[in-house]
Amino acid sequence: MRRFYSFSELIQDFDTRNSAAFVYAEETVEDNVEDSSLQELSYRDLAAMIRERADAVRAVGTAVDVVPVTNSVEAVVRIFGDVIAGCDVVMADPMIPEEVTAKVAAGARAARGMRLAADPDQASAEGEVLFFTSGTTSRSKVVRLTSRSLCASAWSGQSMLACGPEDRLLSILPLAHVFGFVCALLWGLAYGATVCLGRGVRHLIDDAEFFQPTIIPAVPSIMAALVRFDALNPECRVALIGAAPCTPAVTAALRARGIAVYLGYGLTETSSGVAITQDLDEPEAMYVCPGTEIRVEEDGEVSITSECMMAGYLGQPPVGPGYRFYTGDLGGFDDKGRLRLQGRKKDVLLMPDGTKIYCPEYEEDLARISGQTDLAVASRNGRAVLIAGQGSDPAALRQAVNEYNNSLMRSQQIYDIIIADGPLPRTVTGKLKRYELGELS
């Protein structure tokens, strides 16, 4: 199995292939899938387009490019072309406000200037790929990944779950997030699969029928919807689920259809997956990928060192070799040495579509808007709810929640308000005892 160390090496390999890199079609409003005509792009033509883009970027000398990342040939060509030309790429989800991406771009230019001043040889290196860690919240961090760490992630994934030229990989995950970029694009391109570029959010459910993929990477909420609407095609042999915990009911339903279920564990900071299912009867028990070492600390927190590790957060000092990342996830190893995740340690909720909610931020904002102070955000059945202490004003809370929801992505919105029978549980210093919130509803 060939291992690539940069995007340039990978693009060179495209020239040796005769198969299709992409199949794609235009998004339509109509339900009728016949309205979309399927188009194909070969690996060789893709390589040529990427080189042409790289030449153009070199000619202009672009240092940082904010790419509105859609699941399109144009976006993919721009990302790869920019990186091999030495330009840093900000992976901008089209839903992120422009003022946020502009601020990140300014930070990226400053960071690049400092990087080149410290090591002028970096000027000829490939550009970095900058990912937002989650959602559109003001506190989300930007993670610096390199083509080397991303290619290492694709290779380690391939070591555990192989794809090849006979496969059609459905790409419906947002490519602006690292799980989508690696598992629904780069992995397939690196190992010769044909990537089926999804036709957009309006076709999430009918894209499987339309493209007839053999592998579907998805977050739990999308996979649950595919199961619920009986939208999985008979050719599908593998479901790769990541970014958030998946319910046993969904994995059981997939297995009942003869689909092998692989659950992956990883973070933006580790360039996507670092552990994955191998025993198909127990998908939730995951084996550590090659190139990664996972440790469970005394308090149960999962920590990671990996050759897929980030270069650092934008605006913060770079991480060095052997850097250990403390994930905030709780887990343990079973008697077969398999990683089993057990929840979150930090004040972060992980939603079924892979996005994260930083609870203190919500609580501060909602307290400010509503004038109520005894508040907590928690998760119930995969949705965020607001819990308020006894005596809180329900009407003020309801108005505040409706107003606040307007500023949030749908999956990060508050879905219910619960008034507790007493004050919320707190320590003597006033800090919320989040682990006791579960008993209040």
């Binding site: 339900d31 999308i222 919807a225 609407f229 949705r383 949030l408 749908r410 919105q413």
Partner: protein, 87 residues
């Protein structure tokens, strides 16, 4: 003149919701029903519902506006604004 009156829009949309989301079959929905806290429609179901509404009424609501739909009435507003005039 629009191809649908407001009453027709509301009636058709509520019917779509009842058919599309079995859990809401018996729910009494009004234009004031808040999508999250009253109907509890999850984010993906809402996306699919908007898609169904778009294809039913042959309109396209820009994605950036999807997150701002709080009530059923606001969804109807966005559809109504985009309906073509008919003679």
């Amino acid at each position: 003149m629009k191809p649908y009156t407001r009453d027709e829009l509301r009636e058709k949309t509520i019917k779509l919701i009842h058919n599309f989301i079995p859990e809401l079959q018996d729910a009494e929905l009004t234009e004031e029903s808040v999508v999250n806290t009253d109907t509890n429609i999850d984010s993906l179901s809402l996306i699919m519902l908007i898609t169904k509404v778009e294809s039913t009424f042959k309109v396209r609501i820009p994605r950036k506006e999807w997150n701002k739909i709080s009530t059923l009435g606001e969804l109807l507003d966005k559809v109504e604004q985009r309906l073509p005039d008919v003679k």
